[in-house]
């Protein structure tokens, strides 16, 4: 091995990449995104030279290249057809979903040729793009901003998602992070992140409600904060309801006022974007003003539009009422009355609308907490969680599934396997049997949602259980296990109980990107792919090596008397060799040293097992033996 030997104090591995490897928290929003980092429990939002924290979630595909943020948003005025806004609304969505919001999206979507579902694609400036790729551009810009502020490379992040995001949208978010060269440490639900920011800052205790109305999504969660535990009791929301919808209603109102311009047909064009820009401006101005006047210049025909706050409120009233209905349902799910809520937290730019604030306060009979900027609170919470995950913390987030998980049964009905608001991680097993003699395969269709009919829920995945051993109808017992991890992501495994045949389940996500597609995109983004993969593998090898040293050191302390002096020295030698490789950056030599260490301690391990089994025979537990021995040392 070449290179210099690093010298460090005995018994202490140096901690390379300590500061240089700081993980960040990212709020990847529909309208705006931002990034924050935390040190010693203090979160700080990253700002540009002009003090702005928000990066508009806007991507422009221009001839001179791809631009993101404020610069991209300015292009809406000149080259609207090259600009993508609100792409978050399309994450993990299929064409069928998009039809629900058809005409509300200011860009063209591609209809998949084979009609086979799959994630929707956008047609922008002559390119066909998946929402994942567009989101990756936003994340790249955010990453660059964080790197500039911190002065080192950023490769790991906690990313927030709406609590109500389904499995497909969560996977899409993780895919986007991968494309941008970021490892997702954890997906955290936005309201939970907000509660974390408040709870840790204020050392709060009791029941909290978080009402989160962003640009494109609405979430409401009820949490219990107690001794550093953030326990989500219930959550609910609407993934397609947000401030964008307020803008759309106002834009339609403006367009109706213009004679001869039908409100809906125009909304797929440049004109729609202009109307939306005016509408947003009007909405924002009416937060502080009682009325105002705006001009829309479409096709050289300018028109003036007056709007007062009362009219705005009448327009958006049905949407606000819907969020309040959902809020009441979530309170009922949590088994909590509004009076029991100790604190109400408002999150998201749309909670700046006075009517929203007023109506939510009415439901809870109290004024909301507003010491943290509602547009920054989620990123701050994410940063705190990133620090907790990488540096350790006493705080604990216990979240729940936002939607029920079910499977399709006879007649297109949905049978619930895991009800909504189940604490995660969670696992549920369900037994299936065959209905024909000798049947060797069966289809399983997993859906997410609260409705009785499969067709009214969201299709998550279909997969075939193949290789069932031939048996009489009803004799096979196939156990399918659905596991939801802390990120809210589903994995499925299956085994046949009578024969013990274990089935590999290939889940084909209904609206995701296939592994092939993701791999192709990764290859395409040459700048990151290889370097990121190497960095990640090196980190994994290091984790493995450090664990090995710790394990052997502990074993020597407890069972060292099983070795003679020479044996002990030999083991110390392989451990020291491993320690030396960890100081370097060569993954291969770390892995080799781990292997050597494994082989060198094999005999030691079997003597330790013998001792453990002898102790168990005498009725002592291993723990007792270990304790008495370590006491002697």
């Amino acid at each position: 091995m070449s290179g210099l030997l690093q010298i460090h104090e005995p018994g202490r591995t140096p901690l390379p990449h300590q500061r240089e490897d700081m993980a960040v928290g990212i709020d990847l929003g529909t309208t705006n995104s931002l990034v924050a980092f935390a040190e010693d429990g203090q979160a700080e939002v990253v700002r540009d030279s002009r003090g702005r924290a928000l990066v508009p979630s806007v991507v422009a595909y221009l001839e001179r290249g791809v631009v993101v943020g404020e610069e991209a948003r300015r292009e809406l005025l000149d080259e609207a057809e090259r600009v993508v806004v609100s792409v978050k609304r399309l994450m993990g969505r299929g064409y069928e979903d998009v039809q629900r919001v058809a005409g509300q999206l200011p860009y063209e979507v591609e209809i998949p040729a084979d009609g086979d579902g799959g994630m929707v694609r956008l047609r922008v400036a002559g390119r066909t793009l998946s929402p994942v790729e567009v989101s990756a551009e936003i994340l790249r810009a955010i990453k660059a901003r964080a790197e500039a502020a911190l002065g080192h490379a950023v490769s790991r992040a906690v990313i927030t998602v709406p609590a109500h995001f389904d499995d497909a949208a969560r996977n899409a978010t993780k895919d986007a992070a991968r494309l941008a060269g970021l490892e997702t440490l954890r997906l955290v639900n936005e309201p939970t992140a907000a509660a974390l920011a408040y709870g840790l800052d204020e050392a709060a205790e009791g029941l909290y409600a978080v009402y989160d109305l962003g640009g494109g999504t609405f979430d409401v969660s009820v949490l219990r904060l107690r001794m550093g535990v953030f326990q989500v009791l219930a959550t609910g929301g609407d993934p397609l309801l947000g401030g964008d919808d307020f803008d759309r209603l106002v834009a339609e109102h403006f367009l109706r006022q213009r004679a001869g311009v039908p409100g809906d047909a125009a909304l797929t064009s440049n004109e729609a974007k202009m109307a939306l820009i005016s509408a947003r401006l009007a909405k924002e101005c009416l937060t502080d003003q009682d009325s105002g006047s705006w001009t829309i210049d479409v096709g050289g025909r300018p028109s003036r539009h007056d709007l007062d706050r009362a009219t705005l409120e009448a327009l958006i009233e049905p949407l606000v009422a819907r969020t309040l209905d959902i809020t009441r349902d979530v309170l009922a799910d949590a088994g909590v009355t509004p009076a029991e809520i100790a604190g109400l937290v408002l999150v998201g730019g749309s909670t700046r609308v006075p009517m929203v604030r007023r109506r939510v306060a009415e439901v809870f009979g109290r004024e909301p907490l507003d010491d943290i900027d509602p547009e920054e609170v989620v990123a701050r919470g994410a940063a705190l969680q990133a620090e907790a995950l990488t540096r350790g913390s006493q705080a604990l987030l216990l979240d729940v599934t936002p939607l029920s998980l079910g499977i399709e049964t006879m007649g297109g009905l949905c049978e619930k396997v895991m009800p909504r608001n189940t604490p995660v991680p969670a696992a549920r097993a369900q037994e299936f049997t065959t209905y024909q003699d000798g049947q060797s395969a069966m289809m399983i269709h997993v859906v997410q949602g609260e409705r009785e009919l499969v067709a009214e829920n969201r299709s998550l995945a279909r997969f075939e259980l193949a290789g069932i051993p031939p048996m009489a109808a009803g004799a096979a017992r196939i156990r399918v296990t659905f596991a939801v991890d802390a990120d809210g992501l589903l994995t499925v495994s299956a085994d046949e109980a009578t024969t013990g045949v274990r089935q590999q389940v290939a889940v084909k996500p209904s609206y995701g990107l296939s592994e092939d597609e993701t791999a192709a995109m990764l290859r395409a983004s040459m700048e990151h792919a290889a370097a990121d993969m190497d960095a990640r593998l090196l980190r994994e090898a290091r984790v493995d090596g450090e664990r090995m040293i710790q394990a052997v050191t502990a074993a020597l302390r407890v069972d060292g008397d099983l070795l003679d002096g020479a044996e002990r020295e030999a083991i110390a030698g392989v451990v020291e060799a491993l320690r030396r490789t960890l100081a370097g950056d060569d993954r291969g030599s770390i892995q080799d040293a781990v292997e050597t260490c494994n082989a060198g301690t094999e005999e030691f391990a079997s003597r330790r097992m013998d001792r453990g089994i002898r102790a168990a025979l005498k009725g002592h537990s291993v723990a007792e033996v270990a304790e008495s021995l370590s006491g002697e040392n």
Partner: protein
Amino acid sequence: MNASDNAVSRCWSCHGPVNRGAAFCPTCSAIQPPHACDPFRTLGLAPGFDIDSADLEQRYFARQRELHPDRFAANSPREREYASRHTANLNDAFAMLRTPVKRAEALLAAAGHATGTGETDTVADEELLVEAMEMREGLAEARSRSAVDAVVAAQEAKTDACIAALSRAFAAEDRAAAARLVLRLTYLQKFATEARERRGRLTAA
């Protein structure tokens, strides 16, 4: 030899002996894969109907702090997966033990006694049916939040009495009586949910 083979397994990390069922290796502290375990043992309790809910919750949080996958974010994928499986078991066990109905069902199932919530014997208890109907009527007639609250208060007293009776039945090991009481408690709780929903609607109005 067989018994001890089962009692001791090998730690995947330091290759030393670990008692079966232990979540962590006594030597190197590595997290171990979970084994199937009844909900009482998962939370470190002796099986029994009487449970102090504050103590149960403290045990749950304490175990979560040890086992939640977020505690293993910097560890290997294998350790994260074990943590995830442990926590899934823990969540299950807590959900089962925190509600009297499920706790009683778990005890009856462990004793090999079928519970009365199956389809066959739901109509056996006529007294129960009459009582359920009366409660529903009372609720349907309640037109204000305070009227609903009064109905709920009466029902809560019945729930408390039912749980006390269930505790006595388990103490006397009278499983048939316990099974009947579980069914009654199920009805009472279903009713509580309906009452809460009705109250919610009245609040909204």
